[in-house]
Amino acid sequence: MAVTPELYAKLFHRALLIRRVEEKIIELYPSDLIQSPVHLSIGQEAISVGVCEAMKDGDLVYGSYRSHALYLGVGGDLAEMFAELMGRIGGVSKGKAGSMHLTYPKKGFMGSSAVVATQLPHAVGSAYAAKVRKTDQVVVCVFGDGALEEGVTHESFNFAALEKLPVLFMCENNQLAVHSHLHERHAFKIENMAKLFGFPYTRIDKGWDLTEVYETCKRETDSVRAGGGPRFIEAATFRYKEHVGTNDDFHVGYRDRADFEAWVKNDPLVQDKAGLRAYLAGVDAEIEAAVAVALKSPAPGIEELLTDVM
């Protein structure tokens, strides 16, 4: 499916919103308004934007602790996101979730977990429920390359393949698990792991390319919906910031700034000057308005401490 100029504008606008939201978080962070670990998606926005745009109403998606982009990708409310990060009652989860556990069920984003790979069986389970209930849902599971090392991933892939479940596995390969490189962690090729379970495998090399990401995701989600079982996308991407926190970390020595600079040369959110001219001011105004709403929301009171435990 070709990307029209209108659709490209939508994808660019959404990716820019994510980028600028995260840059706002960087700006706010020293003020301690956000008292929680943040795992920024800067550099990885295109993946979430593309895969979410490929979803239909009723489809579900699961993510990890690095899910600011996924939340905004499905169209999560911006003020509720800032309020959530600030621990306010007006947050999407009343401040009890924070940055690492964003969710937005109204748009099918069913949760994010701060324990690596735990969301894989959740996506598979929702897909099994879709099969039992005979819905035409596709369930998308977004995870990083590190998740492929966990045992539950093997279990989840096996069951999804056995049952030919309607699930799209989207691996965001940023080559890093905290500070450890892929080559230090994987004795296997990701493609081979997907093929072990018979998943049709697609690799996106240009993980910055909104068009390629969207077109691939659209084709793959359509194929999943048509039946025939799970499919697997590996998308190369780049984490611009440190694993957790708001800083650059090229100086500490585990990765090379040159790789980052090569990636940025292709980053539309840096290079597309016309796009930035068209949308930057509007996006920033939207963010300022959302922050203002979030700041007006009070902290949760003691009545919330024991609410929703059971």
Binding site: L60, Y62, G91, V92, S93, K94, G95, K96, A97, H101, T103, P105, M110, G111, S113, V115, T118, Q119, L120, P121, H122, A123, V124, G125, S126, A127, Y128, A129, A130, K131, V132, R133, Q137, V139, G151, V152, E155, S156, N158, F159, L162, T307, D308, V309, M310
Partner: protein
């Protein structure tokens, strides 16, 4: 107890396994979106009879044999529950559920609270506590207090067919939260007198099984039966006691226990697990914090020897508290001295007795 029940018209004899099978059958029949997932759930043994025949009746898609994937299938249950299905997981030994502990403790227990009440996770995880015939260290554990420690989980340890029949339908149809049950393997083949006319406003709490005067015994799972057998023995020697079935370690009836101890002044706690940090410790905490002045004697608790379970029968028989241990502890409390003068039953091990005796209880 049976004399009182016998006058009612709707009393019948039901085995623990058949009570479970009935609740599973009704759960699948009542809700087309209810499924059972477990290793061997659809085979000829059917989780010791508790799912026997259900795959043929409802389809292998709804009663599904699972690959060996305890961790994954628990996450699958979470994801299925979020998409409109009520999943029931089965584990033929509770020890295996430790492979699911990450999903249970980090995810399932927290999903509602962590996301500010946006989600409910109605689901059930059924596990079986093994005992006897050399189950050994990894097929015999009673892990209910480990999970009852975690906020957000509902834990049930049914002691009889009656408690299964009055609790499971409620849990499955009305309790919109994750439940873990610990069913004792030695109870499965036992017959129980079941009162079909019994209605409980709140089946998810402790039960006052019988009343007496000398002491209070609080027990869980099969230890409730041991206490009932001890009651028969001790009655002949003039000792009666209140017997409270914990039933739901996550939903203990604090008032029931406090009121009983206020009346008797003496407390003996029996559990199928170790005593330290467990249900027995929790019951003692309850009294120590709420009503210590009611105690006329130090509390006693009986559970497993503080070791992994040995396989050798000679050691296994020493590992578990037996009827004589219960009678001895209860007598010492009732008489106020270790040399209580009450004869002890000659029985050495519960498992030998239950091989011959099927009930009804």
């Amino acid at each position: 107890m049976s004399a009182q029940l016998a006058v009612k018209a709707d009393v019948e004899t039901v085995s623990y396994a058949n009570a479970l099978l009935e609740t599973m059958d009704n759960a699948l029949g009542d809700n087309p979106n209810c499924i059972i997932l477990g290793q061997g759930a659809d085979d000829f043994k059917g989780i010791f009879g508790s799912t026997a025949g259900l795959a043929d009746k409802y389809g292998h898609n709804r009663v599904r044999d699972m690959p060996l994937m305890e961790d994954g299938m628990t996450g699958i249950a979470l994801g299925a529950a979020l998409n409109g299905v009520y999943p029931i997981l089965t584990h033929i030994r509770s020890d295996f559920v430790l492979l699911s502990a990450n999903q249970i403790i980090n995810l399932i227990a927290k999903y509602k609270y962590m996301f500010g009440g946006l989600y409910e996770l109605p689901l059930m995880i059924r596990t079986v506590i093994g005992r006897s015939w050399g189950q050994g260290a990894q097929h015999s554990q009673s892990l209910q207090s480990l999970f009852a420690h975690i906020p957000g989980l509902t834990i049930v340890v049914p002691s009889s067919a009656q408690t299964v029949l009055d609790t499971y339908p409620y849990l499955i149809a009305q309790h919109k939260a994750p439940v873990i049950t610990f069913e004792h393997r030695m109870l499965y083949n036992l017959d129980f007198e079941v009162d079909r006319g019994q209605f409980l406003n709140n089946p998810l709490t402790s039960r006052l099984v019988q009343q007496g005067s000398e002491l209070t015994i609080v027990a869980s799972s099969i230890m409730v039966l041991e206490a009932r057998r001890a009651a028969k023995w001790l009655k002949e020697h003039g000792i009666t006691f209140d017997l409270i079935d914990v039933h739901a370690p996550s939903h203990i009836d604090r008032r029931m226990i406090i009121e009983s101890v206020r009346k008797t002044g003496k407390l003996l706690v029996l559990d199928t697990s170790w005593t330290s940090f467990g249900t027995t410790a929790e019951i003692c905490r309850l009294i120590a914090e709420s009503e210590p002045q009611a105690l006329k004697a130090a509390v006693r608790s009986l559970g497993l020897a503080p070791a992994p379970c040995p396989t050798a029968k000679a050691l296994e028989d020493l590992y578990y508290p037996n009827l004589a241990n219960v009678v001895d502890a209860a007598s010492a409390l009732a008489r106020g001295k270790a040399a209580h003068g009450i004869p002890l039953p000659p029985e050495k091990t519960m498992s030998d007795i239950y091989k011959k005796f099927r009930g009804p209880f």
